[in-house]
C-alpha cells in the first residue's frame, strides 16, 4: 500500500468518517519497501491539491521520514523538480508491505498483507 493511498483513506466505519480522530489511520508494525516507479511530475502536480497535508505530515512522521514543510507546496513551488521528486518518492515509491492501520476513533485495525490493505468490516461494525 502506497503512502498516497494511505492519505486517500480513512476508517470505513460510517460513524468514524465524521470524527477528526479517524484520520489519518495510524500505522502499527509497518514494514516498508521502496519500489521504483517512473517519475510523473504532472501526476504529482495534479494530486497535490487533493492531499490532506496535515495527514501526510503525520503519516511521514509516524514512519520516521524527515519532516515535511509546514505548508503544502503551491504555485511556483510545484515547478521545483526536487520538491516534486521528494513527494514522488514518498507518495508513490514508498510501500507498506505488512502491518496494520488503526483508527484513532474506534480502534479498529485494518490489516495490510503483501501490500494489500483489507478494509472489509466485520458485521458488528457495518
Amino acid at each position: 500500500m502506497k503512502i498516497i493511498t494511505v492519505n486517500f483513506v480513512t476508517c470505513a466505519v460510517k460513524e468514524c468518517k465524521t470524527s477528526p480522530s479517524s484520520f489519518p489511520l495510524h500505522f502499527h508494525d509497518a514494514e516498508l519497501e521502496l519500489q521504483e516507479v517512473d517519475f510523473q511530475p504532472e501526476f504529482i502536480r495534479n494530486v497535490i491539491p487533493r492531499i490532506d497535508w496535515e495527514g501526510l505530515r503525520a503519516t511521514a512522521n509516524e514512519l520516521g521520514f524527515p519532516s515535511l514543510p509546514e505548508s503544502k507546496p503551491e504555485g511556483e513551488a510545484l515547478n521545483n523538480e526536487q520538491t516534486l521528486k521528494d513527494l514522488h518518492r514518498l507518495l508513490l515509491e514508498t510501500q507498506v508491505m505488512d502491518g496494520k492501520l488503526v483508527c484513532g476513533n474506534c480502534g479498529h485495525e485494518y490489516v495490510i498483507k503483501e501490500g494489500i490493505a483489507n478494509f472489509l468490516l466485520p458485521s458488528h461494525l457495518v
Partner: protein
C-alpha cells in the same frame, strides 16, 4: 475544415460518444456534419489538422481520419468538388511520394476498375514517386454502397454503383491496433467476467483517462478497466469486495505479487498502478472528498458473480465472537459476512459515491445490463450532481448491456433528473427477489411462475 472519419463497423452506438469524449479531452470543437450507424464514413468539422490528429490517434472505434477533398453521389460530382476545393493546393503535393487507394463499403470493385478510378484523378498532376509503404501522402477514394439503412436491413437488391463517394488525404491513423495487443486471449490473468479489450479501452476513453489523472474501479476483478485507463496514462486504483478476484490463486501468482499485476507488467504499465485494496463500496474507506478524476466500472450483475455487500442476511448485527481467546474478526483468514444486495440500490450507491468523490468535470463510466424485453424507454439512473453525457448499447441475443457516461457537475450546477429512474429496490432477502435483471435472465426460457399456476 471538413474531415472524414472512417469508423470500424462495430459497436455503432459507441462511436459518436467516443469521438465527442476525445474532442472534450483534447479541448477542441467538434461538429458532426453527417453520421449514420449503418455507414463507416462520418464527416466532421474541426478547426485544423492538429485537432483531427489529437482526436483520432486516441480513438479505438475509428480507423483513421482524412482531410475531405470532395464528395458526391457520382464521379462527375466528386471530381467537380475536388477541383473546386483543392485545385490551388495540387502544386504543393506535386513532388511528394504518394499512394492512392480505393476503399469500398458494402460493395466491390475489381483491381482493374480500381486503377481506372485512381487514374481518373490524373488531373491533380501528382508526379512524385508512388510508394505504397510510408508515403509522404496517402490519398483515399471511399465508396459507400449503402445509403438507405432501413432498406438495406430488409435486403435491397445489390446496386452496381456506389451511392456516395468521398475523396480525401489521410491525416492520422487511430489507436485501434492496441486492441490486438490487449486481446484477452493473450492476457496473462483473466476470469469469466473480464471485459473485452476493445470495450475496456472505449470505456477509458469515455471517462477521459489521461496522464496525471487518478482512475478508480470499485469492482476491479482482473483489472480490465484499469489496464485500459493505464494504457492512456492514468494512475489507477482498484478495490473489490472479494480480494481473491485480483489476488488470484497461488498458481496464478508470481513472486508473491497479486495476479492482476501480471497484466500491468505484460504491457509495461507497472508505474501506472497506484494500489489495490479489499473493500465494499457501501462501506468505502475513501475519504469523502474530491479525490478521483475518473471511475470506470462494470458492477456485478448477479448472474456469474453474486451481488453482495457487507452485512448479515437477517439484518441483525452480530456481536463480536471470541475463538480461542481472540476476537474472531482479528484472526487471519476471517471472512466477514455478506448479504445479497439489490441491483438498483447498488447503482444508486455508485452514483452517490461518484458525486462525492469525483473532481468537478470528472467522469463516471458505468456498465449496466438490461434484458431486451424491458420497456423501450430505458430509464437511466440519475443523480442531481451528475450530468448524463452518453448512453451506448451493446446487444446480445437475449439481453444487452449499456455503458452510461456521466460528468460530475461543478458546484452550483444541477442536472435535470426528472427523466431518471425513480425505482426503489424490491423487498426481499434472496438474490432473485432483489435483482430483476437476474430473475429475468434465468427465467426467460422457462414458464414464469404465474403462468405455471394458470396452467394448473
Amino acid at each position: 475544415m471538413e474531415y472524414l472519419i472512417r469508423f470500424a463497423q462495430v459497436h455503432e452506438t459507441f462511436r459518436q460518444p467516443e469521438i465527442q469524449a476525445l474532442a472534450t479531452l483534447a479541448g477542441v470543437d467538434l461538429e458532426i456534419v453527417s453520421y449514420d450507424d449503418y455507414s463507416p464514413y462520418c464527416i466532421v468539422k474541426l478547426q485544423d489538422e492538429a485537432a483531427a490528429r489529437a482526436i483520432i490517434t486516441r480513438s479505438i472505434l475509428a480507423k483513421d481520419i482524412s482531410e475531405l477533398w470532395g464528395q458526391g453521389t457520382n464521379y462527375e460530382g466528386l471530381h467537380a468538388q475536388v477541383h473546386q476545393r483543392t485545385q490551388h493546393r495540387w502544386t504543393y503535393y506535386r513532388e511528394k511520394s504518394f499512394a492512392f487507394a480505393v476503399d469500398t463499403f458494402a460493395g466491390k470493385r475489381s483491381q482493374s476498375k480500381k486503377s481506372e478510378i485512381i487514374k481518373s484523378f490524373a488531373y491533380m498532376g501528382l508526379e512524385g514517386p508512388i510508394r505504397l509503404r510510408n508515403p509522404d501522402e496517402q490519398f483515399y477514394v471511399m465508396e459507400e454502397y449503402v445509403s438507405d439503412p432501413e432498406a438495406s436491413i430488409l435486403g435491397t437488391p445489390k446496386v452496381s454503383d456506389p451511392r456516395k463517394i468521398f475523396m480525401g488525404r489521410l491525416i492520422a491513423n487511430s489507436n485501434r491496433d492496441i486492441i490486438v495487443k490487449h486481446d484477452l486471449k493473450k492476457r496473462r490473468y483473466i476470469s469469466t467476467t473480464s471485459m473485452d479489450a476493445e470495450l475496456s479501452l472505449v470505456t477509458a476513453n469515455m471517462a477521459l483517462a489521461a496522464p496525471g489523472k487518478v482512475f478508480y474501479d470499485p469492482f476491479v476483478g482482473t483489472g480490465s478497466f484499469l489496464v485500459a485507463a493505464a494504457h492512456f496514462g492514468a494512475l489507477t486504483l482498484g478495490s473489490d469486495i472479494d480480494p481473491r478476484s485480483f489476488r488470484g490463486k497461488d498458481s496464478e501468482r508470481e513472486k508473491g505479487e497479486v495476479a492482476l499485476m501480471r497484466n500491468f507488467k505484460q504491457y509495461d504499465l507497472e508505474s501506472k498502478m497506484m494500489d489495490l485494496f479489499s473493500s465494499d463500496l457501501t462501506n468505502t474507506p475513501l475519504r469523502n472528498c474530491q479525490l478521483l478524476d475518473g471511475i470506470t466500472c462494470d458492477p456485478p450483475y448477479g448472474v456469474r458473480e453474486g451481488l453482495r455487500v457487507l452485512g448479515t442476511r437477517d439484518g441483525v448485527l452480530k456481536e463480536p465472537r471470541i475463538i480461542d481467546g481472540v476476537l474472531a474478526h482479528t484472526r487471519p483468514g476471517y471472512v466477514p459476512p455478506k448479504k445479497p444486495y439489490g441491483f438498483e440500490a447498488l447503482q444508486k450507491d455508485v452514483l452517490e459515491f461518484a458525486a462525492r468523490n469525483l473532481v468537478p468535470n470528472g467522469r463516471l463510466a458505468m456498465w449496466m445490463p438490461t434484458s431486451n424485453d424491458e420497456a423501450i424507454e430505458f430509464p437511466v439512473p440519475m443523480h442531481p450532481n451528475l450530468e448524463v453525457i452518453s448512453v451506448s448499447v451493446q446487444y446480445f441475443q437475449a439481453w444487452s448491456r449499456r455503458l452510461m457516461t456521466y460528468r460530475r457537475l461543478p458546484e452550483g450546477e444541477l442536472s435535470d433528473t426528472t427523466q431518471g429512474r425513480d425505482k426503489t429496490d424490491a423487498r426481499g432477502i434472496c438474490a432473485d427477489e432483489l435483482n430483476s435483471f437476474r430473475r429475468k435472465y434465468f427465467t426467460r426460457n422457462g414458464p414464469k411462475p404465474e403462468n405455471v399456476e394458470l396452467a394448473q
